[in-house]
């Protein structure tokens, strides 16, 4: 957490460069290999599953074991706000925007109304 808030610490740049390279590699290869690949083939279905599982793991981890500032909000608050987001999401016919608004508002309200659980 040390360092300048705007520039951050120096050690972000190398991971950033690697992330940028592997991300563009996926897109560039898509253009280069284009017609020679079957996007509905088994390899890509497996790749999709791995990406989904990894992201689901990341999302669950961010809610259950947040590393950063979210840890300041108790687990109960985080789970309740997640339930509110998903509830509103379903009620509004799967609106990501309203679900997000409900989740954020829910978390803020819970933190304000019941700071003791923080």
């Amino acid at each position: 957490m040390a360092g300048n808030p705007v520039m951050g610490t120096g050690d972000v740049w190398l991971p950033l460069l690697v992330a940028a390279a592997v991300t563009y590699a996926a897109r560039g290869l898509g253009v280069a290999l284009g017609g020679r690949l079957d996007p509905n083939g088994a390899v890509f279905r497996w790749v999709g599953c791995v990406a989904y599982a990894l992201l689901a793991g990341l999302v669950a981890r961010m809610i259950v074991f947040p590393v950063g500032p979210l840890a300041a909000a108790g687990l109960g608050v985080r789970l309740a706000a997640t339930a509110m987001a998903l509830g509103v999401f379903w009620i509004t016919g799967r609106s990501v925007l309203w679900g997000a608004v409900a989740g954020v508002a829910g978390l803020i309200l819970l933190l304000w109304l019941a700071p003791s659980i923080v």
Partner: protein
């Protein structure tokens, strides 16, 4: 309205509707995360500009903030973003034809591929087939460029907001990151394999975290994802 400037204006208007609003909100979350983890504004903006796919960016910031190795970060981002490859492969045939039936130059496709991510891909797959082939490049370029600006503005906005709003609001903004993705997954629950991958990942992620904080995510993705893929394959075989 089929001349390029007219179609481009239409694309900008469409981009600034619901897709832009949702992307702006989610990047507000990313900007706040970049501030709260100490990632920084400069790095956050460079990540948005060069990554332009929130899942990989979130994995990058999260893993960096817990001090994961370069290899762990690179592998996690690669595993997350390889899903962009089939998106590019399926969208490109719709973009190949340039103005007046000429084929679009290759460098142009390489540049446009950079703005293929879940939002642009889903909307372009729906929208492009209805447009005359000569208008498609103009539509997609304007659509992608507009959303690119929106994400940059969202990243900067989230970073500055996180510094001035009260603490609970900052936490709310950071909280946008996981819940946005949770809902994005929930929109797309038609494929059994993905439902399984999601369910296994949700359980395995937190379970492995205390044991292996940095590589747990990679193990979760590979194990839970492969298990989902194999089970789905097995069940679809048996169902026939």
């Amino acid at each position: 309205m089929s001349e390029p400037s007219g179609i481009a204006r239409t694309a900008v208007r469409e981009a600034l509707g619901m897709p832009g609003l949702v992307l702006f909100a989610s990047y507000l979350g990313f900007g706040s995360l970049a501030r709260e983890t100490g990632f920084g504004l400069g790095a956050g903006l460079v990540s948005t500009a060069t990554g332009w796919a929130l899942p990989g960016q979130m994995a990058l910031v999260e893993l960096w903030s817990i001090g994961a190795s370069l290899l762990a970060v690179g592998l996690a981002v690669a595993l997350t973003n390889t899903r962009l490859l089939p998106m590019v492969v399926t969208l490109l045939p719709l973009l190949r034809t340039g103005a007046a039936g000429r084929r679009a130059p290759r460098w142009c496709l390489y540049a446009l591929a950079h703005v293929i991510a879940v939002t642009t891909w889903a909307n372009a797959m729906r929208r492009l087939p209805d447009l005359p082939p000569e208008s498609r490049l103009a539509w997609f370029t304007a659509y992608g460029a507009t959303l690119f600006m929106v994400t940059m503005a969202g990243t900067a906005g989230g970073f500055f907001l996180a510094g001035v709003v009260p603490e609970p609001v900052t936490l709310g903004l950071v909280f946008l990151n996981p819940i946005y993705f949770l809902m994005l997954f929930a929109v797309d629950l038609k494929q059994r394999a993905r439902v399984l991958a999601l369910a296994f990942g949700l359980v395995m992620g937190p379970l492995l975290h205390p044991v292996a904080p940095t590589y747990g995510l990679l193990v979760t993705g590979l194990t839970a994802g492969t298990l989902a893929f194999v089970l789905d394959f097995y069940w679809s075989r048996r169902g026939r």
